[in-house]
């Protein structure tokens, strides 16, 4: 996804003279062509994320369309107030593109983990939140949303699905139709969900945009009354939002995601997913438990 970001960003800078790129000393080599071609609109701002966000908002006040990029925790968590007020409250448009989703940087320890980002961004009214499952999905989302007057968050991950689901922008997709349970797979969790549900009589809904949330699709595909949300960030991040849309029904909702604790082991992301049951086997067990409940 990072390579795709460099490509689509270079294209956007070329097509839109109001587009600017601000890096927090991350991705400088990857965006080297943009630095060469657009030296007056591409900046390595430095390791000062809070000021970088406010500076970007100032550019938006001046009629530009800034894209800000660095590692997720240092942008979303450290500079959250600047995102909330300078873009959200002021109704200014800009783009935030992060790397290091959830436990992507497992070996670097908890300072570099960020499973709380989407939960935080959901607290900014009007923010768009994209969780692409593939590089092509990100490219499509960025192309369609990066010039609007909203703050748009694009959460890039090291994890990726094999196939892209590019249907209609911001809408969810029915991947499979069944009767006994509905599974929501978010972004890069789709392949694990597909493997987990082989030969099971379940509906699978795929979402790579969680805000705005396509509630209509969910309401049309909730015949069973059982819902499992498989989310690549903290477990139960999406549940309050989803339950609001299903408040007129009796629904059993469960979540599989990153547990809400500091992860103190290192190693590979998949080792943590194994421990947390975020595997096809672990999710299948959860589905069968729900179906037998």
């Amino acid at each position: 996804m990072r390579k795709e970001f460099a490509t689509i960003m270079e294209s956007e800078l070329s097509l839109n003279p109001a587009s600017t790129l601000l890096l927090g000393d991350i991705g400088v080599f990857g965006h080297r062509e943009s630095f060469k071609k657009f030296p007056n609109r591409v900046f390595n701002i430095g390791i000062l994320e809070q000021s970088m966000v406010s500076l970007a908002a100032g550019m938006a006040m001046g009629g530009l369309k800034p894209t800000i990029h660095t590692i997720a925790p240092f942008l979303i968590e450290r500079a959250f107030e600047q995102i909330k007020i300078d873009f959200g409250y002021q109704s200014l448009g800009g783009n935030i593109v992060t790397v290091g989703a959830s436990l992507d940087y497992a070996a670097l320890g908890a300072t570099h983990h960020c499973p709380g980002d989407v939960g935080m961004m959901l607290n900014i009214p009007g923010a768009e939140i994209f969780v692409p499952g593939t590089a092509a999905e990100f490219s499509d989302q960025f192309s369609q949303s990066s010039r609007n007057e909203k703050i748009s968050y694009f959460r890039l991950s090291e994890k990726s699905n094999k196939k892209s689901n590019i249907t209609s922008f911001q809408n969810g997709t029915v991947v499979k139709k069944g009767k006994k349970l509905t599974v929501i797979a978010i972004g890069p969790m789709l392949d694990i969900v597909l493997a987990a549900t082989e030969n099971l009589d379940v509906t699978i809904l795929y979402y790579n945009c969680v805000s705005p949330f396509d509630s209509e699709l969910l309401r049309k595909n909730m015949e069973s009354g059982n819902l499992l949300i498989v989310e690549p960030f903290y477990e139960n991040t999406m549940a309050p939002l989803i339950q609001k849309h299903l408040s007129d029904r009796r629904v059993m909702t469960c979540s599989k995601g990153i547990p809400r604790k500091f992860v103190t082991k290192y190693g590979k992301t998949d080792e943590h997913y194994e421990e947390f049951g975020l595997t096809s086997h672990g999710i299948r067990n959860e589905i069968q438990r729900m179906m037998s409940a």
Binding site: R41, L48, Q50, S51, G63
Partner: protein, 256 residues
């Protein structure tokens, strides 16, 4: 009554009617804002897309009463609106909102946001080849925030000769954190600096006119909290307190 005393009395009345407002902070910057809007942002940039416009950001948003009083003086805000300050349906909040008031460039209030926004705006004007100039006013207490010093690094690095930062040095910070000599600090970061009496209109005007190619300007404006209302001057009791009707009558007769 002088024009400035008229503005001061409006600030006191608006604060008294609403029971809200940071009056001494507003009074410490009133002279500076008066000169800025009189000459440097004469029509108000007001979210203008006109590339030639200068723009002003009040970063210490809690002093909003001074901004509202000056905008009222220039006819941008009606008397009725000014005296609705901080009331339920009012457009004029305790901190300014750019989406409600023509003449407010930034919705400040959380300290440390205005200066980096001003840097972004200055960079935007340069990208658009504008001749406009950006003025940002911060407080000395606000300068406790790390983003001020991040910005102090950024502006000279990007050679922003179209940016002026005014420090309202009313010594608010001294009770918490001594800031030392602002002029030395900004100069060390690469800014051109000047120190003035922040209530001397000629000195304010001359400082706001200063330009240096490729280098931002920091004006250290030494001011007095509550300036112009004698019993409020440097009196911490009034930091976030509005006068009751009896106090208002006394204060209206207690001006320089």
């Amino acid at each position: 009554m002088t024009t400035l005393n008229k503005l001061r009395s409006n600030i006191l009345k608006a604060a008294s009617m609403s029971g809200e407002g940071h009056v001494p902070s507003a009074l410490s910057i009133l002279d500076i804002l008066y000169v800025i809007y009189d000459e440097f942002v004469p029509n108000g940039a007001f979210h203008s897309t006109d590339n030639l416009d200068n723009r002003f950001i009040l970063s210490k948003g809690h002093a909003s009463l001074a901004l509202y009083a000056v905008l009222n003086h220039h006819g941008k805000i009606s008397d009725e609106e000014l005296f609705s300050f901080a009331m339920y349906e009012s457009n004029l909040g305790g901190h300014p909102d750019r989406n409600k008031i023509a003449g407010v460039e930034s919705s400040t209030g959380s300290l440390g946001h205005g200066l980096p926004q001003g840097i972004g705006l200055a960079m935007a004007l340069r990208i658009k080849e504008s001749l406009g100039h950006i003025y940002v006013l911060i407080g000395d207490g606000e300068a406790n925030e790390g983003t001020i010093w991040e910005s102090a690094l950024l502006a000279p690095h990007h050679k922003l000769g179209n940016l002026t930062c005014i420090v309202d040095n009313n010594l608010s910070s001294e009770r918490a954190l001594s800031m030392g000599k602002f002029s030395e600090k900004f100069a060390a970061f690469g800014w051109k600096t000047i120190e003035i009496d922040g209530h001397d209109h000629i000195a304010i005007r001359d400082a706001l006119k200063m330009r240096e190619s490729g280098r931002p300007i920091a004006i250290i404006a030494n001011t007095v909290k509550g300036y112009g209302v004698l019993s409020m001057e440097s009196n911490p009791e009034w930091h976030h307190r509005s006068p009751n009707p009896d106090e208002l009558q006394f204060l209206l007769g207690d001006m320089r």
